[in-house]
């Protein structure tokens, strides 16, 4: 039996007076990619924010496995343009626990930042202002920031909307490699079904009347997706990949 990444014990998410899910009870093993999918307003972001500790559950509980530490990539950058933060500042934000209080930087930080920027294929300079970068560059920096702390779990809230296809592909490859090599896990929200369902092992499908969860093959069916999205769709396999077309 592999280690447990996350245990949900009759977890109900939502806001006071407005629950967004049926009670969720499941165990997810370490080293998997979890896709959170569902129609707009189904509670995808609320679920991830609840699991990140940003919103309290309405009832029930969740428990992360021992030693899990997180990287978080928000849906849109939350950082007000009033802050003249540089790329370096953003990376320090992700690395702050390892920085000395007395020194402005360290060789370890420089090495970690250099590595992660190369992984993210970012050509900007560390002194460039974050607010002046393009949306795609900003999203890459936010992912880089989350990776700076060497997280064992990455929580990603629609991180790919402004990223180009080739970079997205490389990122999925990195995630797949880390899952095997580092026991890395990720929980990702993505509104584009075709983008996400072929890259995750487990799925939490939030629908208006039911919430399905489990290994991808058990959850993703034409009927379950139709019910969750309230639309007719066609599901088929093409070159070994699942493809969904809304009719």
């Amino acid at each position: 039996m592999s280690e447990t990444l996350l245990t949900l014990d009759h977890l109900v998410i939502g806001y006071p007076g407005r629950s967004l899910s049926a009670p969720l009870a499941l165990q997810i093993p370490v080293g998997v990619g979890v896709g959170v999918i569902g129609a707009n307003g189904s509670g995808k972001s609320t679920l991830v924010k609840t699991l990140a500790g940003l919103i309290p559950p309405l009832s029930g509980s969740y428990q992360w496995g021992a030693g899990a530490h997180f990287g978080y990539v928000p849906q849109e950058d939350q950082i007000s343009p009033l802050f003249p933060l540089t790329v370096r500042d953003l990376l320090k934000m992700g690395y702050h626990r390892s920085l000395s209080r007395l020194k402005p930087s360290s060789q370890d930080f420089v090495a970690a930042a250099t590595e992660v920027l190369e992984q993210m294929q970012i050509s900007t300079l560390p002194d460039d202002l974050f607010r002046e970068l393009s949306r795609g560059q900003r999203q890459r920096i936010l992912i880089a920031r989350a990776l700076m702390g060497h997280p064992s779990v990455l929580l990603l809230d629609e991180p790919y909307s402004a990223l180009d296809d080739s970079f997205r592909g490389k990122l999925w490859e990195s995630f797949a490699e880390w899952k095997v090599r580092k026991n890395f896990s990720y929980v990702i929200i993505e509104h584009d079904l075709n983008r996400v369902i072929n890259q995750v092992d487990w799925v939490i499908l939030l629908g208006p009347k039911e919430t399905l969860f489990g290994p991808k093959a058990q959850v993703i069916t034409q009927e379950s997706l139709s019910r969750a999205y309230g639309a007719k769709l066609h599901l088929h396999e093409e070159d070994g990949e699942i493809q969904v077309h809304f009719l």
Binding site: A52, F70, G71, Q78, F83, M93, L99, D127
Partner: protein, 313 residues
């Protein structure tokens, strides 16, 4: 890439030179326009060095703390805090008058102001967390109610209108060695805290959610940040008066942030401009017999004009 991390730190040298030249220009213009009083000002250094030093320290503090006011979009909260503190000070005056003692130069009045300022801040923070009301409503209510009560109490205490004027515009000549010592000590502690916890304060302010998920106790850090803001505002207000402190919390950070390329640059320039404005205000006040608080606001306005000129080029 590694080399970039070491070598590409931008400097703010040209902006410091630009604003230093403006300062010299204003000093020079004052000298040329009123040479006799300017010479008198230099000769009377023993008379003004303590108030000017106190103004400088308040300006440095406001330059630092005002940045967070702008970053957290709570500029008008500083006004509510100053009025809350003012209400506390006046309340202590009123209570002292019942006992037949004067608190005008007593630290007790400062402590009463500080207590009310802290209460104002925590009221604001808890209302903000509950998200039931718009920030502006609470800030407006605190400001209006405190201001009204200050006038009412001012009508009933011996210090009267004179005390209200001091509260609003400061009293340049009333700075004693003791109050200067207290101000410098408090400012030193605040600067030390802001340097030591610079990352926690900045990062928790910039991206609360990310820091919270990373395991940082954001609420605790922001509470400490607000506490330093409250104490800094209260002690500055007691020294310079409410309106000059408000001006110092807005103008230097605004100028610094206009072209800042990093938080460090913003802090350095804001603190520098904040430190220059009050002494310049005292200088104008001395030369032209202007009210000191209003003189500081005028000096701030001149620096604003300089920043527009800087933007144009």
């Amino acid at each position: 890439m590694a080399l970039n991390f070491i070598c590409t730190r931008r400097t703010v040298r040209y902006r410091f030179i630009f604003y230093s030249l403006w300062t010299l220009l204003f000093i020079g213009l004052g000298w040329v326009s009123n040479r006799e009083e300017a010479a008198h000002f230099v000769g009377a250094v023993g008379l003004w060095y303590e108030p000017v030093l106190a103004g400088l320290v308040c300006g440095l503090l406001a330059g630092l703390l005002g940045l967070y006011m702008i970053w957290k979009r709570i500029v008008f909260v500083s006004l509510a805090i100053t009025q809350g503190a003012g209400f506390g000070i006046f309340l202590s005056f009123l209570m002292a008058s019942f006992w037949g003692v004067s608190l005008e130069h007593s630290p007790l009045s400062f402590l009463a102001g500080l207590a009310m300022a802290i209460a104002t801040t925590f009221l604001f923070v808890s209302f903000r967390r509950s998200k039931k009301y718009a920030d502006e409503v609470l800030v407006g209510l605190i400001y209006v109610i405190s201001s009204g009560l200050i006038v009412l109490i001012g009508d009933r205490i011996a210090e009267g209108k004179h005390a209200i004027d001091n509260l609003l515009f400061g009293n340049a000549v009333a700075v004693t060695s003791d109050s200067l010592g207290l101000l410098v000590a408090i400012a030193a502690v605040i600067f030390a805290l802001h340097w030591l916890f610079r990352r926690e304060f900045l990062y928790s302010s910039a991206d609360t959610e990310f820091m919270q998920v990373s395991g940082v106790r954001v609420d605790a850090w922001l509470t400490l940040l607000y506490l330093t803001l409250t104490i800094g505002i209260t002690i500055s207000m007691k020294t310079l008066g409410s309106l000059p402190v408000f001006a110092l919390m807005v103008i230097p950070p605004f100028i610094a942030l206009k072209k800042a390329k990093s938080p460090v640059e913003a802090v350095l320039l804001s603190v520098f401009v904040g430190g220059v404005i009050p002494p310049l205000g005292y200088y104008f006040s001395f030369l032209y017999s202007f009210p000191t608080g209003a003189s500081m606001i005028l000096a701030g306005f001149l620096f604003l004009m300089a920043s527009w000129l800087e933007s144009a080029f």
